[in-house]
Amino acid sequence: MKSKRGAPPDWRDEVFKTFKRKGINQVFYVPDAGHKRLIELAHADKSMTTYPLTTEEEGIAAACGAWLGGHRSVLLMQSSGVGNCINMMSLIENCRIPLLILVTMRGEYGEFNPWQVPMSRATQGSMELMGMTVRRVEDSSRVVDDVDAAIDDAFVAEQPIALLFAQRMLGRKKWVR
């Protein structure tokens, strides 16, 4: 990564441009440091409605409401939020609602905080058990294409898709300031 410490690597800006190009109307999230730049870009853009959730499962229901009304949405969360969504995901399968979740992974690579590990380990499996297609994104040079394809999978083919952004790609969290 070329950027200086604290400055965003530019693939995040490219992911946001992909949201714009593909007509994403609503972005909702429970914040994660890995999504910081994307959240800032979405809030700054008046062509979409961006809002925080109190818990990740709210985003599953919001995605359903958005699609019923003709909007495309993206849900941003970190891996520990995935477990909060499980029962609400029954809505997605029953109504075949397009769902796109971008998950930033914690607890899998150089993790300082062991409390992140159990849900991290269960993230992919629990989503797959609920019928979602899950793809890991390890390489920042692939991330824009992967997001672009996932938007088509979700909103053209009405599939539930999650992309897991690997902790190695995002960078290890600095614990000492």
């Binding site: 109307n25 609503q26 409605t49 809002y51 925080p52 959730l53 109190t54 818990t55 499962e57 709210e58 985003g59 599953i60 229901a61 919001a62 995605a63 359903c64 409401g65 958005a66 699609w67 019923l68 009304g69 003709g70 909007h71 949405s73 029962n87 609400m88 029954s90 809505l91 029953n94 109504c95 075949r96 609602i97 083919a157 009405e158």
Partner: protein, 217 residues
């Protein structure tokens, strides 16, 4: 409790947030009559109903392609309403749900209050019980007020309703597009005959989208 919360909340047009324990002894309305009245001459209103009795009540009032009947996803009705209200800002969106369903999605009231959609109202049909699972008492039977929670979340109108004549205010507020509203309507803990709408979620989604002129797959 209610008075304290009101003192700290933004000013609202609500008459009062009564302590629920006292209000629980007030008149309770018949749920089917309440829902029929709420949906009378509905115009272009879009309706989302929480699982269980609320879904049966809305269907009993007359099927409509613009109804979303939930059979699961407990706690999700209000957030479906929010996503929909943002996507369809010119149409009034009414969420009709029960106390138990909304209690599972209390955080959604904070999310809605923070987002403040102009065209969303929530009616909590409050019988103070979980009717679907054997009439166990809910938190509202022990003094929890959804109206006070919504007021604290910044809803622009909140109120307890215990008369049929009082129901008109929620529709009026919604039609004025005056910001998020929540009404707690006190209903009897009755179990009217089940009225069962379609359970095929894909069909329900497609007919809803068609009714809005949206493409289906």
């Amino acid at each position: 409790m209610g008075a304290l919360i009101m003192a700290n909340a933004k000013p609202t047009k609500s008459k009062s947030v009564k302590p629920a324990r006292k209000a629980a002894k007030a008149t309770r309305l018949e749920r089917r009559a309440v829902v029929r009245k709420l949906l009378e001459n509905r115009g272009d209103m879009l309706v989302v109903c929480g699982l269980g009795s609320s879904t049966y009540d809305v269907f009993a009032a007359g099927d409509d392609d613009r109804n979303i009947y939930l059979w699961g996803a407990m706690g999700g009705a209000a957030m479906i309403g929010l996503g929909l209200a943002i996507a369809q800002p010119r149409k009034p969106v009414l969420v009709i749900t029960g106390d138990g369903e909304q209690l599972m999605g209390l955080g959604a009231l904070a999310t809605i209050g923070a987002q403040a959609p102009k065209n969303l109202a929530i009616v909590v049909l409050d019988n103070a019980h979980y009717a679907e699972t054997g009439m166990q008492q809910s938190h509202t039977a022990r003094g929890v007020s959804m109206t006070a929670v919504a007021a604290g979340c910044g809803f622009t109108w909140t109120g307890d309703i215990d008369s049929m004549a009082g129901l008109g205010v929620i529709r009026e507020h919604l039609e004025r597009r005056a910001g998020p509203a929540l009404a707690t309507v006190r209903i009897e803990a009755s179990e009217p005959p089940r009225a069962l709408p379609l359970r095929d979620g894909v069909e329900m989604k497609n007919r809803f989208r068609r009714a809005l002129g949206l493409q289906t797959i």
